[in-house]
Structure formats: C-alpha cells, structure tokens
Amino acid sequence: MNTNTFFHSVTLDKDKCKGCINCIKRCPTEAIRVRNKKAMIIPERCIDCGECIRVCPHHAKKAIYDSLDVLDQFEYTIALPAPSLYAQFNHLEDVEIVLRALLELGFDSVYEVAKAAELVSDATRHYMARPDILKPVISSACPAVTRLIRVRFPSLIDHVLPFNAPVEVAARLSKKEAAKRTGLPMEKIGAIFISPCPAKVTASKMPLGTGKSAVSAVVAISEVYPKLLKHMHADLTSEAPTAQSGKIGVSWASSSGEASALLNDNYLAADGIENVIRVLEDLEDEKFENLDFIELNACNAGCIGGVMTVENPYIARTKLKRLRKYLPVSLNHAEQIDAELNWDAPLEYTPVLKLDEDFSVAMEKMTEMEQIEQSLPGLDCGSCGSPTCRALAEDVVRGLASPDECIFKFRENITALVDGIHKLDGYIPHSLRGEKEDEHDPD
C-alpha cells in the first residue's frame, strides 16, 4: 500500500509497546494487529481517532505533530487556536488573554478557528435551506468521522456536508489576509493550528475534500499549554482587542456546539467513536425519521475530549460554559467565502474492507472465512494478535495469518500430540510381543 495515500499521525513507539492486546480490542475499525510482539497499524484502515492512544497503558501509541520550532520556518506566522484551547485554563474570563499570550509566544498574528467556525455555521444554515440536498446532513468537521464514513459507510457519503472544516477555512482566509497585508508570498506565511487531536494532523497532511490543505503545521494543545501559561496576563489595557468570535464559534469545541448553531432543533449530536458508529449504522438502516442535521464527534464530549488536550473533557466543558456566558452570540456572518469553504474534491468510497477485487474470489474467501470462524473457539481473546476470532479468520483468508495462531487450537494440537505419544509409548511391535521369556531382544 502506498504510504503517501495513508499518512497517519497515530504511530507506535516500538520500544514502549509490550505487545498486549488493549489497543487491538479497542480499535473501532479493527486496524491494529499484534505481530512479532509489537502492535502494528494497518494504514488503510486507520481513521486516526486516537482511541489507541487513549487506551494504551504503556503510552506506546502516540500522535505525531509539529514542534513549536516550525515558527522559525516561516517569515510570518499565524496562530490558529482551536476553540478547545480556551477550555484548558483555570479561571479564564477573557479569550483575549489567550490570544495575546500566543502573540507573546512568538506568533505574528492570531486567527481564531472559532471565527471560521461561525462562518461555516452561517454557510451551513444557508445550505440546509436548499431543496436539492439529502437530509439528514452529516457534519464533516471531525476528520476521524469523515474517514470512517469513507471506508465503512459509503452509502452515507452523499449526506456529508461538502464544506471544509473550520480550521481549513481559517487557514485559507488568514493566509490570504496576511499575504495582502505583508506582501509576502503564500509559502512564506505559516498558518499553524493549535490542535486538540491527531486526526487534524492527518487532515492537514492528507486532506479529504480538498487537494491540498492550507494548514502549514499542526502543534498539540498539550505542548503549547505549559509554554503559554507563562505569557498569560490579566492586564489587557494596552492594545486593541483581537478576539473575534462569539458563543457559536466557541461552542464548536464541545459536542452539539456545531449543531445548536444551526438554530434548528431537529438535530442529533453524538460523541465517542462507539456511539458514532451506532448512529451511522442506524442511519444506514433508515432508523431515524425527520432529522435535519447530524453532528458526530469521535471523541467523548467533542473536541475538548481530544487526546492532545490536557484538561478532563467534562471539566473543560464546564469551563467553556463559564467562558461563553458573556460572549455575544456570533460575530461573523455571511461573508462570501465560497472558495475557502467548498470542497474542491469529492469524498470517495475507499473499499478497504473488501476481501478481493474479484467478486467470485471474494465469495470463496467469505465461505472459507465462515468455516474458519466456526472452527475457532469464539472467545475473542485476542491472544493470536487479531482482535476477534472473526478478524483472525479474515486475516487467514487474506493470507496474513494462520489458524494455528489460535492458542486454543494450539492447545488442542498439543493434547492430540500428547495422546499420540501415550499411545506410542504403550505400543509394542509384533516382533517384540509374545511370552515373557521371548521378550529379550536378540540385539
């Protein structure tokens, strides 16, 4: 498989990996196997949701992101703080404090992702009024969910909102603005996202819905946070305020923030990857009626639950509520941002789960898989390195494993072998059998 097609920001620290089965059992797309005592990610199946990072007791799964040194790579740098960043601090009363701290840290300017989120919300409200769209519309903001739909729920692709995520819109608008103001060429301007999640790293390197992302680099909230603390001052008298987002934009950080911004109660908002999968399954079966919008976030509680954040997601949500209280509803409306907003490449089905290109071969493999599954104990213990017995059966027909990897089968084989030895032990050839006095061998 071409690794360029499937860059991932979730990777493995081999030295720390003990080869246990925690991650393979939790992966929602069965993308991890344990081979040669180490976990191994199947790149075409991984959706960068970060569940394995969350669950690994040895901290062997990690997110790749850029370090703040990227600031030196550009002549002009723009910080793109995710709204979830605001929810990380204690007693934060004004977003302004964070934005100015970012400038002190070395960024030349700040463009709030929350601001772009308000533009996306406004555009979505207009989109929802169109008569020619398929409802319910599914949010495209969480890249892990978009990737999940692409590999596992192809029949729902046409329901996905064909807009770039707020961070992409923020990067495009802010770079354009900066180029105009500074006269610098685009490549010398760095739009650097301060992100709660690894899926956003992947989305910037291997975007869906667009050929190339305008996000120049992605740094983790968890890395910026301690550095930022030193620069946070409550004294805001000196300069003109830079904060440009209201309640709607900031609310995108937690689950149902995006949906409630549509000012339409006919929505469903689900968070946590298992819940997301259940909603998508039900949606595919047309279990829901009369829903206009579906917001799905792979992380519990939404982006504030991302693995690159520092605060407990539920505490973060409380902090966010407090911060939001005194903000205006929305500060950004109906700008003409079609070029920055609309996808320029369609979302396409990537059938990575297919057993074979040829239907009849796939049928044969499927039949064989069913047979192998029947012969396995069905305990889904994971000791073979595959997450379930069915997954092992699938790995066998794909030529990636042998049914003998099953330790219960192995035990059966050993028992059979021991029985055989016992039988052999008691066995005396004809030539040696007979009367006691004849038992002495001539040799």
């Binding site: 192809p154 029949s155 047309e286 089905y349 059938p351 239907f359 049928m363 499927m366």
Partner: protein
C-alpha cells in the same frame, strides 16, 4: 460458484437488538465488495423486517442467501399472520399496538419500505400460523 448462507434468530422481546442482523449482513456485503447503494437497500429492507418480527410476531428467524447475482432474504415467523396482505401493504396501514407506536414504531411504513427497497417481494401468510416474507435484491 458457491452461495453464502447466513442465519439469524430474531429475539421477539428486545427492541434494542433489532438491527443486529442488518449490521452483520452489511459487514459481509462490504467485505464482498457489493455496491454501496445495494448494501443500503438490503440494510433498510432487513431492518424493517426485523422490527416487524419484533412488533407483530414475537421474533422468528432470517435466512440470507448471497450469490453472484442477488441477495435473497427470507424472514419467517410464527406470529399471528396477516389477514389482508393487500391492505397491510398500504402506506400508513398499521395494526401495531399503542405502546409500540409510542416508541416511534408502527407507523405503517414497514412493508411498503421493504417493497420499495427490494426488486422482488413475496409474502406468504396464514392467520394464526405465521408469515414468511421473501425478498430479492439484485446485485
């Protein structure tokens, strides 16, 4: 070429489990590389059938046959049967009890949705004996 046969028992007492057969068949069809629009038709038809079996018949069983040309679904129950199949097929016609309707089911769209999403559908039903619904969805 061999056909793939799948069998599911539908628990008639548990609403929350309706949809399990649909989810499993979807997974199989995806692994076979079946077109997404076909998978969706099968999913909808099957889920409607599962729900019907829970509402009206205390469960039953489902047999799924997949070959190179079609997916065949047989949904069999030993429920009370359908008195007038033609009437039951009409959109909005429902004999679902109130407690089922209060859960958001029983709107009388089940059979018509099944028909809409299958290429062929046949119903055999005897009052007091049970109902068999056969559906075919071409690949």
């Amino acid at each position: 070429m061999s056909a793939i046969k799948l069998h599911y028992d539908v628990d008639g007492t548990d609403f929350t489990r309706a949809g399990e057969a649909s989810a499993s068949v979807k997974k199989t069809l995806r692994q076979l590389g079946v077109r997404p629009d076909v998978i969706r038709k099968v999913a909808i038809a099957l889920y409607e059938g599962e729900i019907n079996m829970v509402i009206h018949a205390d469960g039953g069983f489902i047999d799924v046959d997949i070959d190179s040309e079609k997916v065949s679904l047989a949904l069999c129950d030993h429920g009370k049967g359908i008195e007038n199949i033609e009437l039951a097929m009409q959109e909005g016609y429902s004999t679902a009890p109130d407690e089922v309707r209060s859960l958001g089911f029983g709107a009388g769209m089940g059979l018509s949705n099944m028909k809409k999403n299958s290429d062929e559908m046949r119903i055999e039903s005897t009052v007091g004996v049970g109902t068999n619904v056969y559906m075919t969805i071409r690949l």
